[in-house]
Symmetry: C2
Subunit: 409 residues, 2 copies
């Protein structure tokens, strides 16, 4: 029996980071296909947005100094010498004592430095208005380059594109986007008790759950999953299957094998395959302890527990960040929700605990987390839960009422 090399989650992440292969394959895709994709390069604006001073109100473009001192009882009178048309260049100039009518979004004509809202004007005749409230230079304007200025990095490499990011890219005229290719992830299940979901059950056999949860998790993380099905529980079958999956993927997840022998087979197979090989065998977390991490000739292999809850949690902690950022270990979901746990929970120090919880909102807006009880082999507990609460390895547990980090599903 070999010695387990048990690491904390942080140590496991660090050792993976040291040996992490360079995965940065790029491709260029149309902007409309960019949602949730990860930028491969910084995006720099080649022009100002907007490209001109732009009115934010319906009103009149003026020289602010012409309005100084204006009041309702003593308006400043200016001549209306032009009109800005939406979408057209406003040539101006607006001279002293002059104003141009301007719509919201219209271009400020040269000479003018502010917009007076139509509400603060009164029309004397078609050629003259009275202004009843002074404007300061810059009033009611979006300045040229106020949204984006030329040369600014508007989005950083490794950023995952959200709807507003697509909008910003459209604004700066970027219609083809350099993104990272999705990480290819092969998924293998082991365990002689497993049958495929479309097979009838029989005594002693259960259906393969992990292939499907992991497939969903890989997709959610932005990876490209391939299922290799249920692999027979012996060294040679697993070795052949793993070699095949490593050939076609950048990461391979092997889950299960809850029978006695199997737990070590994955590690033994990995040791025959390439360098640096096994990085850890066991993580100081609950659930999920019997997990394996390895890098084999530039590919990552995780051996995940057979229990569906444990496999999901270890995936989220270790595999997801690698897929989401295609290599730099920075997780995509950056802020947990803070909720008050509703019962005392014991936990051992030196171990990160993850507790399935459902959330409830109290009348005062507070969010509380109720632990979902049940063994880590029960997928129904993950289905009931809204997220997992984290009890850090520095703590011996949490007391009812204490705030904990909850990572939502």
């Amino acid at each position: 029996m070999e010695l387990f090399n048990v690491l904390t989650v942080q140590q496991a992440r660090s050792v993976l980071a040291v040996h992490l292969p360079v995965w940065h394959k790029e491709e260029t895709i149309p902007l409309l296909q960019g949602l949730n994709r990860i930028l491969a390069q910084d995006i720099t604006a080649k022009e100002d947005v907007p490209g001109f001073h732009r009115s934010t109100m319906d009103g009149y473009a003026v020289r602010a100094r012409d309005t100084f001192g204006a009041t309702e009882s003593l308006p400043s009178y200016v001549d209306v010498t032009g009109e800005v048309l939406m979408g057209e260049e406003a040539h101006g100039p607006v001279g002293a004592g002059q104003a141009w009518a301007i719509p919201t979004g219209g271009m400020l004509p040269p000479g003018a430095d502010a917009v007076v809202m139509v509400e603060y004007t009164e029309e004397l005749d078609k050629r003259t208005i009275g202004i009843t409230k002074p404007a300061a230079p810059g009033d009611n304007l979006v300045r040229r380059g106020e949204d984006v200025s030329t040369g600014a990095v508007v989005l950083n490499a490794k950023h995952r594109l959200r709807p507003q990011d697509l909008g910003l890219l459209a604004a700066v005229g970027v219609t083809e986007v350099p993104v990272l290719k999705p990480v290819k992830v092969g998924i293998l299940s082991t365990g002689n008790e497993l049958i495929a979901p479309d097979q009838p059950t029989s005594p002693g056999r259960v259906r393969d759950i992990n292939s499907y949860t992991l497939y969903g998790q890989v997709l959610q993380a932005g990876g490209s999953p391939t299922l290799y099905g249920i692999i027979e529980d012996n060294f040679e079958s697993l070795r052949q299957a793993l070699i095949g999956a490593l050939h076609e993927n950048e990461m391979v997840l092997i889950s299960g094998g809850s029978s006695v022998g199997t737990r070590d087979v994955t590690a033994k197979v990995i040791e025959t395959l390439g360098n640096p090989g096994l990085l850890f065998h066991g993580i100081a977390i609950k659930p999920g302890k019997p997990s394996i991490g390895a890098v084999v000739d530039g590919k990552v292999v995780f051996g995940l527990p057979g229990h569906p809850v444990s496999a999901m949690i270890v995936f989220d902690l270790l595999a997801r960040p690698l897929i989401e950022s295609s290599g730099d270990g920075q997780p995509g979901r950056s802020f947990p929700l803070r909720a008050a746990i509703t019962r005392n929970i014991h936990s051992a120090t030196g171990r990160d605990d993850f507790l399935r919880v459902t959330l409830r909102r109290l009348e005062d807006g507070t969010i509380v987390a109720d632990p979902v009880l049940g063994k880590s082999g029960l997928i129904s507990t993950m289905v009931k839960a809204d997220g997992v609460a984290h009890i850090p390895l520095t703590k011996e547990g949490v007391e009812a009422g204490e705030l904990v980090d909850v990572w939502l599903f």
Copy 2:
């Protein structure tokens, strides 16, 4: 000038719900395509999971009563009369004074009612073990049906499928899933100042942002978006474009038209099209007030503000819930994060305010929200932000340090 019919967000949702068309088109898809799809029907388990009592430990299946009183100094001795093989039916029976070896995940043989962990046994010879700690009936077992019991509704209609839900469906043998068809959403932009992102800018013109942010938001909500491009800013062009888009979609979003006349054109066009027509014209929120909602012969139309930030926020509040639940108005994102705002923010009562914020984590774990300043016409403010904080319409504002709900992007 027509009278604005300004509603609160809640009133707008209610009036939409009253007139909401029935959208529940179903389709059946393979399980592996189910991630993020919405169930069309309750899923009921047709069998127990697991289908047999299952060991959670490596050890021995026994009759618990045979272990009562066992201690390290006075073990209970039992005969090992069989071995459970992984994935095979265990016929037993395990009689009084007998034990079967059993692996984790193995089927409990008839006659036995508990498993003793191998750690609490000592092997005398191949046929006899000593048990050093008593077991209670049910110890170290997952009972038949403990994960899922026959006849239980395991997932409800309208539930959006997460990775663990795919796992549960696999467990109960559901490989074809009845889901709602994605809501088809047509997206139109109006505004004579707009040009497409692949066009060069010129003074007075800006690129269309809203088509792209809304396209991303519709996709994110699980809808199927189609862009109809930039529509000329007049009654007849908009009417023809809207009729075309209504024909091909279940929902149409018209954004923009920030020029004076345009703001009313959308409403006027809608009034010529069908029943019940315009439901509200203006919502008591900031930003996003000049928004329109309508139902036209069984299709939903939203007129969204031209400002990108406003359009995104109104989409999230009103359109997203309709797309996500395909009709029942129940939003998909159910829990906001609670964060302490870092400055005093004034807000008018009677109006829901939404504040772009960035989040920071303090040393003690607290999450604080810093307001992102900037006009609602600036898409860069949405790009900087991590989410939006909600100041409810009952409040006059929030004070620095107060906890607010933040909806993460």
